[in-house]
Symmetry: C2
Subunit: 342 residues, 2 copies
Amino acid sequence: MELKWLEDFVSLSTTLSFSRSARERNVTQSALSRRIRQLESWLGLSLFDRSSYPIGITDEGKIFLPRAREILKLVQTSRQEARQQHDDTAEVLVFATLNTLSLTYFPGFIRRIEERLGSVKTRFCDQYSSYDGNVAVLNQGECDFLLTYAHETVPLLLDPARFIYRRLGSERAIPVSIAGADGRPVHALRPTGEPVRMLSYGSCSFFARRLAKLFADRPAPHVTVYENPMSVGLKAMVLAGRGMAWIPESLIAEELRSGVLVSAAEPSWELTAEIRLYRAAAPSRPGAELFWAAVDENTSLGLPDAPARPMPGRLSYAGPVATNAGDRKLRLAAASMPASWS
Amino acid sequence: MELKWLEDFVSLSTTLSFSRSARERNVTQSALSRRIRQLESWLGLSLFDRSSYPIGITDEGKIFLPRAREILKLVQTSRQEARQQHDDTAEVLVFATLNTLSLTYFPGFIRRIEERLGSVKTRFCDQYSSYDGNVAVLNQGECDFLLTYAHETVPLLLDPARFIYRRLGSERAIPVSIAGADGRPVHALRPTGEPVRMLSYGSCSFFARRLAKLFADRPAPHVTVYENPMSVGLKAMVLAGRGMAWIPESLIAEELRSGVLVSAAEPSWELTAEIRLYRAAAPSRPGAELFWAAVDENTSLGLPDAPARPMPGRLSYAGPVATNAGDRKLRLAAASMPASWS
DNA sequence: GTCCTCCAGCCACTTCAGCTCCATCGCGAC
DNA sequence: GTCGCGATGGAGCTGAAGTGGCTGGAGGAC
């Protein structure tokens, strides 16, 4: 038996459509069909009535559905429980953070803290790509700190009475394109004329929200030809000349300096964001308190306004222990989904 | 995450030895080592302390162990629950039976019953190979009927007050070998001289018990060169000339007649067994009661003494729905283990 | 009636995770 | 010292499971 069969089953029992669930689970319809059959044959009974449209769940399926959920839930909580135990005893600080920040700001940030505290053990939560997802992680007490972008136009669903924050710096997202032979952007945003090829964030990331608002206020002709919630992915596409995109400055400082990438819109189109570190207001573990104190010392030394700095050299991941090292597969399409924990 | 990782973990936490668990789980030591590492990396912590021998389970491992068991248990019970539901509504009769009987006696038996009752839906429980396992299945009410061999020398752990039975027939297990050019057995049991090559049942099957008793009473020189709890497996080895074995007569009637196989010991070495159908004494589902009544009618017509009859033609499995159709893999070595439900 | 969607089922083909079977290495235990 | 055990690496293989494409049947929608 495979746990993914159960996930398939739960998904299918919700959508009641093989095609839709197949899309949701990032497999073809025929593969999903086969997997559901495998589950059914393992159980020795059928879970869905396919004889009509839309398909219906059988009585046995109705019995089994809560069980399947229970199993998946139990697997999830068991892992969290073991981790909690480990993090507590090993004094590991758990961060929720956005993908881009984990690549740009975090490494330098943690280095500066370690200069004060000595070596610090850290770990990231699973949920990378979604802005709200990370907020939820802090809300539910599954991490010690939330490192995130923030801007007045994007609601951040944290009770100010329960959570406090420090402003660590700021970031700009710049609309960029590769430069043509003449040094001008190949793809450029213009108020009129041809729509520009847009490489865009999905819907759940921070800059996706910022952009949605921006275009609501200042419409401009564009057609979205690619979506990826991770700015690194967008950067790669921009570098390949596939269109323009808003990319955090710290990710493309090098390319801007060398002239490979150039601004693709007037400066007024740039987006800004604060970089904030959130924590629960209530007293926390000794290690977390120590960390927070070190953050305060650093920010009091004038760091709050320092922009996020790009990592020197090539973009290789040198952060904390990857939490999904057990997952070998990473499909591009899957990147738009919440990180799977199975 | 894979459920087999949890099974590995539970096994290893019991044996505290990679090599032993690897053998138990039918993989190489290096494969098991990798799988445990995969589980650990999925969890993000280590479960065993490998720095000393024997290895020790870590604190986190101690936390996670009951959870792992819980998950596996939940998976198992969820399946049983769904099946129960299905069997009840679809009026499926559940049998526990020995492997050989499912191939020899059962098909004809069910055909005779169906001549009276019309089509009957049946299903086998998972536990095939172990004699006691099948008994336990009936004891725990997980099946309607137990079809089994029985003999006064082999204890059958069923409370006579709670379970009743009917004698359906009898079976002989005959010591056989392939015939040489002279028509005499290539491998033959002799009270003195060279030990004969013995192909033997494991330890948990019915005829294994009978044989153990037999050899305890009448020692004869032999060396066991192959073990398989399934008599069909032994038959194949006998046909390949690998040695002698006790095989149920009904499985080899054809070969005995044609002379391919011949008796490999004096007739006094033959083993007998009754074929019995057990059920709970308490009233049961209507379908089961109907079935039982049909059995009684049949046995009253003089069938009880009919020996198990081999299926005509080649030995192909034509019984009820295979319960482990979801399991694609079947390793020979695994055949000696209780059927996996995962 | 036609058109469309949805699902089952089949096929050929490809991919790759996971296994085995080596070999080697380091390290405690004895 | 030797022995046993576990980790690790590479080569090679296999089978499971995916994709992509197709057909066919069953229903809705119009």
